[in-house]
Amino acid sequence: MKYRIVSAAAYIAFFALIFLLPLFLNGFWVNRVAIYLVYSICAVAISMSWGYAGVLNLGQGLFFGIGAYMLAMSLTLALPENNPVPELMLLNMEPDAVRDLCCVTPGSFLWIPFRSLAVGMIAAIVVPIVLAAALGFVMFKRRTAGVYVSIITLAFALIGQLLIINNQPLTGGFNGLANLALLDIAGLEFDPYGPSVYYLVAVTLLVVILIARYLLSGRIGQILKAIREDEARARYLGYDVENYKLFIFCLSAGVAGLAGMLFTVTAEFASPSLMATSFSISMVIWAATGGRASLLGAAIGALIVNFVGSLASESAAFQPVWPIILGGLFIFVVLVMPNGLAGICKGLIERWRKRDAAREEAYP
């Protein structure tokens, strides 16, 4: 019972801090922390699939990147100068091509639905889910598990990144999409340096964590945990393990896509570098540092690692050794604190509980 109280208190304290923070920050820091909160959402997504179900996706960056691209496409078209055809296509079209989105470059018709902002926002979540479903279906139906999943998702993300770079007339290629309108929903303009975007991100993080917690503390969370513990046993109890994995894989991809979409709003660009292996693995380390099996822990881990990282890179003394510290952190977390910061806290509470229990026994 005590653990529950402590955990609830931790949630409240964290979100109180997050919601009050902008009062003390200037535009730059509001924006920077907002981006870190976006990363927190990524870490939560990793925690959902890895921490709760043992599915370690090392290609999460692909889903994040796709989410970013989907909204970025809509925001590109929202600029008046990008109508009827975005500049990137004018630069890449054949000289005699028709200047219309239907056929200015091969595949440009795919952009047509993105004239609507709503489509962009929905696609940012749905497209990652659909892709994850397709990949997950193939993987899980074939009983691919453990490290195989990790490596296949990693390779999948690499290919996705290459294809986006390779199709410059359609995607903007290596440079990505950077000339974007501000997000504007029903006249409400979201300024990346103001509290509007910050609170958009913070509220989304809150909602994501609450929903994820609601789901995962219910029956499905228990079943996923069981699958993580012993897949075969779950199967002999009649559970279609593949479907459960597929479910959490897709859910996690959808959350990553949502985070990607918010990244576009906050950082004002989408680029294939978001799909790089190193970025995907960073997400995992954020979650691992904070505690893979704790949604709040993962979110906090993302904040801490990024914050310390940016400070280190801004100090001349730390800058050259920061990658070594980061690498060391990987090893340290894995060897010494596999359940991350949250694990340490849980351990402390457990000890506290046991001490209390012992005391109660001693003095009945």
Binding site: F24, L91, D191, P195, E268, F279, Q319
Partner: protein
């Protein structure tokens, strides 16, 4: 703080948050006042990550240029104070660091970026927050921002208008194969090349792209061999270059029989692959270490004093040097370091750079540069075999048909 308070529409809707605006300034982290006698300037070249190889030397050169300016009394009587950030070769971090420089440190100018991808990530920041980026690298053009000073950066027409006709006339070559890394610059170069080739009667027999950082060139090199090309134009970038040249040698190609002209192979890459692999190949850039001007002699000496005797100077680095100096000139002329003032006064300024005279075009804020062709020697430097007597007009949109008569990028912006 004035800049920061624009666009706060949402905030007014929430009284809770509006209270935040009234919070004492002292509580706001990170605001700091600069000593009145110093002007902070941002320097943002990657010190880590994949492009650090080149960007490190650009960082050194930028610091050197700032030290020189300060030694001469600074800008408007104030010393420049460099704030150095490491964007780690990642557009994501470029964007973040640019925000820090523009908003938090409130620098009036950022000298930085090397790849177009990084510039594109920085662009929204400087455009929306009314900052100024001084961009150094030769690139594909196709950009006409009024918050970027393209000082010293060549655009495709300045690398191609000289070299392609030269290959045809002096070497008698007619069939061109274009290779490049897979991104906007090589593709833009290829488009401009095709336009020029059509005009001068050369045939483009193929253009192929490989992902950045790709090092397996065997298939592509053998494709060049079977394409019937008699000359190669390379827009390959970064570490792929080494593998590409080595593969050409391994498959038995000879630059005397099948010449190669490159747009991005600088002294740095040649040093890395070993001079003997590049020997005999051509490069088209406005600057080589071997350029024979008094300014260059001092520039090379000064840089070697900073970076060591076996350091090489190269075009991107020279462009950094040009950019910083021209920014200082523009600020001096404007009597102000504010980005709008600097931009408004940059047009028409000339600077005696190591490569010769460089002038900013008032229409598109790009630079008149002197096109040159160098031929690699075995020691890794290049002999200049051809150069224009006058700097050439920059046409950033030459890939989509911009000409001196029909400008696409003007003071009004780009009209495609």
């Amino acid at each position: 703080m004035k800049l920061l308070q624009s666009r706060r529409t949402f905030i007014k809707a929430t009284g809770f948050a509006a209270a935040g605006l009234a919070a004492p300034e002292i509580l706001r982290l990170g605001d700091r006042a600069w000593a009145a006698e110093e002007i902070p300037v941002g320097i943002m070249y990657s010190l880590t990550g994949t492009t650090a190889i080149v960007e490190k030397s650009m960082n050194q050169c930028a610091q050197m240029a700032i030290a020189e300016i300060n030694a001469k009394g600074g800008v408007l009587g104030k010393q420049l104070k460099a704030i150095i950030e490491d964007p780690a070769s990642e557009p994501r971090i470029y964007s973040e660091k640019a925000r820090k420089l523009v908003i938090e440190d409130q620098v009036p100018v950022i000298f930085g970026c090397y790849t177009t991808a990084s510039r594109k990530a920085v662009l929204p920041v400087v455009e929306r927050r009314k900052g100024l980026l001084v961009w150094p690298t030769w690139y594909e053009g196709e950009e006409c921002s009024k918050n970027v000073l393209y000082a010293g950066s060549a655009v495709p027409n300045q690398q191609l208008e000289n070299s392609l006709p030269w290959l045809k006339k002096n070497l008698g070559k007619n069939k061109l194969f274009i290779v490049g890394s897979d991104y906007a610059f090589p593709r833009g170069m290829a488009k401009t090349s095709k336009t020029i080739c059509q005009k001068i009667g050369m045939e483009v027999v193929g253009d192929e792209y490989l992902p950045l950082g790709h090092t397996e060139w065997a298939s592509l090199v053998s494709k060049i061999g079977s394409s019937g090309a008699d000359v190669i134009f390379s827009n390959v970038v970064g570490d792929s270059i080494v593998a590409f040249y080595r593969e050409l040698r391994n498959q038995g190609y000879d630059f005397d029989k099948l010449p190669l002209c490159a747009s991005t192979t600088t002294e740095v890459e040649i040093k890395a692959m070993g001079g003997e692999y590049a020997q005999g190949s051509y490069v088209s850039l406005p600057y080589f270490q071997t350029v024979d001007t008094p300014q260059n002699k001092t520039f090379v000496e000064a840089f070697k004093a900073v970076a060591g005797t076996d350091a090489v100077t190269h075009a991107a680095m020279e462009a950094v040097y040009i950019g910083i100096n021209m920014w200082a000139m523009a600020a001096a002329k404007a009597g102000d370091v504010a980005p709008e003032a600097v931009i408004a006064n940059a047009g028409g300024l000339s600077f005696d750079a190591p490569q010769g005279k460089v002038t900013i075009d008032p229409e598109n804020l790009h630079s008149y540069l002197t096109p040159r062709i160098g031929k690699s020697r075995s020691d890794g430097l290049l002999d200049i075999v051809d150069q224009y007597s006058e700097p050439l007009l920059p046409l950033p949109y030459s890939s989509v048909g911009e000409t001196a008569e029909k400008r696409i990028c003007t003071t009004q912006g780009a009209s495609l």
